[in-house]
Symmetry: C2
Subunit: 447 residues, 2 copies
């Protein structure tokens, strides 16, 4: 069901744009020394981006500064979605950290107020929040809940999916390891660029329906369809609108739930409301969220419809020591306040239009630009060779050249050939112009 | 293998000392209103401590203050192990949060420096760290790694174990749900109070060996023995010293690894070095740590011996978005600095002796005090009835009366009858005296 066969070289975003110790010889002595110390403490498991890793020391707004004072325009980091080191977040965290930091087994106003405001951004069907520390934990818990509610075990995910690092959320992440257990079923993400818009909707729903049937036939049953609502790690597929509806219907017909993973698209990035699923006019049973939620303080959450929450009852007891603590909630509250007060969703829409207007003509000007997909401040630019075939090598070269010219972004997609553009939301018009200019230059200079 | 049968009422610490909405009628109107709002956003899944929940608004050192200005001596919270709202932690977090907060895919000195210092507190065999956000994630990853290294699936845990909330770490937590999957095997925690010291060592090792044999015979195989090295949720069993050795030998003979869960005992609490396993003169293959690591900023970690890390290679790719980020590391570094600079391990030893000297005579003075177990600033007081039988109701009454008299602690153990005493490490002599006095009064006043 996927074009990555088990055992084939993994081409997850982490692996394509990844530093290899083989390239260390060309680096400055200071970087080599730091890399040696890193290897002596963290080993090789924790990946580093870029052929020449970036050693950052400061961040402000859209800009990051390295140890040599070189500045980079951040076109990639979603965690700092309100801008690096936003003073309101710093102030809120500092104040709460010097006042009280305990856990949700004592009463505290912060977590209740924040949960109420967050629920208000979700469809009326949603009635309950659980706070975790990571999107991995939220997705893991969502799968546990879906299994209890449905009595089934199977989870359907896309071929390039990344849903986290716990045993269960990693099993639901074929982008990291395509050798998935029998209860994980892989469907190709929609690919309107190659299939055409209508066919991509039809074929996605058909693939999901086939897996539902097979899970039913095998006795595993369908617990859930778990998808990132903008297919981030599959290479960013924001459309066609309404795409998710038929697939979700197929899953529900098989007794399964729909879990919307909003860890990447959520919190206004797509420039139309808070959540990616809203654009597709579907109401999930469970929503997971994380990354940009609290500006880098580890905060994530799961929202459940009242109906789902009632079906679970207390069958899945859960307590998270740090989840929903007063400092985490103060950080999350500050982020939510900034999104509203600074009009960041509106800015994502306006700057997203500017991005689309700048990128779209490049499909004509540059043969390597195969497709341009933009929703608010989340864009995928597909780098292709002859006949529209994915060109991973050129995509990696573009990313590394951009890094050398002071612009940070990375890759996505099962072939690692899609440039992933995902800047902090307060990007200014001039900053977007700067990006478009440098990007055009890098494409022009390609050999 | 356990005295909790599957399906029997769960008596985890969470459930014994837990608020029930049935008791709401007796509470003040303000608390009821807050409880209603909490239920309308967080539902009933996230538990609350005490018959009359505590609504906290401020913390400083050993003291917590509620919304009515009532002060509580904190004899329970391990997360704030350097004391509530320690100014050095506040300062370090505020400074780093206003400077830079990204992730480990860029180079940063903070994570490397901290990992080096932490590795220096572990036996020389340890060579590599992975940072996560929660102990749940660290234990989940430890099990994943143990499975890859050994090629086996089975995990042996104790009957009252709590190792986390992910699907896999929750499966390893019979204290929350004793209905475990076939690859989790439960052994009774050592119980020297009832078995005698020597017999408790022998019977623990024998129970582990039986499960190793059975896992081998069933084809599941033993991936790991996973235990909290002070058996915190089993009711705190700090001795006899050397206890773990024979059990670990039995697991290794079956090809399994030993994972030391230091989430509760670690970071100096036991008053003898940093780690609980040190006291038992065993060297684990993997060590997990969390709770007190960064004063409530969600930070946890996994340490691996060089041998284990080499056996894994890159077979378990792992990236944690928030894990090891500059702010998390600044918080963790401040905690480590405070432990050293304020001599908190020495204080844990001295105040632990004061605690033992105060509690030990109560075995004679009060019939309900069945056993007193103390290691540094971690103590379990077993509340018993006739013939030494666990008396959960009296333990719960003691905990709630202490709460009403301004002292916070809770319960542990498979019967929930062990008072769990685990104050922040900087407790002063006068504060310990205050606790001992109030505790004696509460026991005296028991009906």
């Amino acid at each position: 069901m996927t074009d990555i066969a088990a055992g084939e070289t993994i081409t997850s975003p982490l692996d394509v744009n990844r530093f290899s110790p083989d390239d260390a010889a060309d680096l400055p002595a200071e970087t080599r020394e730091l890399l040696d110390r890193r290897r002596g403490t963290l080993g090789d498991v924790t990946p580093l981006l870029y052929r020449r890793p970036v050693h950052l020391v400061r961040g402000e707004g859209l800009w990051l500064t390295d140890a040599d004072g070189v500045r980079y325009l951040d076109m990639y980091n979603n965690v700092a979605s309100v801008g690096h080191c936003h003073p309101r977040v710093v102030e809120a965290v500092s104040r709460q950290l010097s006042t009280l930091n305990t856990h949700t087994r004592y009463l505290h106003e912060g977590v209740i107020d924040y949960a109420r405001q967050l629920l208000a951004t979700l469809p009326a069907a949603f009635g309950e929040m659980v706070f975790t520390c990571t999107g991995s934990e939220a997705n893991d818990l969502a799968v546990r809940i879906a299994r209890h509610v449905t009595g089934h075990r199977g989870v359907i995910v896309t071929a390039g999916a990344y849903h986290g690092g716990t045993t269960v959320s990693a099993a639901c992440s074929p982008s990291v390891d395509p050798a998935v257990p029998d209860w994980v079923r892989i469907v190709p993400a929609p690919d309107p660029f190659r299939e055409g818009a209508d066919e991509s909707v039809r074929s996605f729903a058909a693939a999901v329906a086939r897996q539902v049937d097979d899970l039913t036939a095998s006795g595993i049953g369908t617990a859930a369809l778990l998808v990132d609502t903008v297919f981030s790690s599959d290479g960013i597929q924001p459309g066609p609108l309404g795409l998710l509806g038929p697939a979700v219907e197929a899953v529900r017909a098989g007794g399964g739930l729909f879990i919307a993973d909003e860890v990447q698209p959520g919190f206004g990035r797509l420039g139309e409301g808070m959540w990616g699923f809203d654009r597709h006019s579907v109401v999930p049973d469970l929503v997971t969220m994380g990354k940009p939620m609290a500006a880098g303080i580890p905060v994530a959450a799961l929202a459940a419809t009242t109906r789902t929450a009632e079906a679970v009852g207390r069958k899945v007891p859960y307590f998270n020591t740090f989840g929903g603590n007063p400092v985490s909630m103060a950080a999350a509250q500050a982020v939510l306040d900034v999104i509203r007060d600074e009009g960041l969703i509106e800015n994502a829409a306006a700057r997203g239009k500017q991005l689309l207007d700048g990128l779209a003509p490049m499909r004509e000007s540059f043969a390597v630009v195969g497709d341009v997909r933009v929703a608010g401040l989340f864009a995928g630019v597909e780098i292709v060779g002859a006949g529209g075939a994915p060109d991973t090598a050129t995509a990696t070269a573009v990313v590394n050249t951009l890094r050398d010219r002071g612009v940070l972004l990375s890759t996505a997609g099962v072939h690692g050939n899609v440039l992933k553009i995902r800047p902090p939301l307060p990007i200014a018009e001039s900053e977007m112009d700067h990006f478009l200019q440098v990007f055009g230059e890098v494409l022009t200079d390609l050999p």
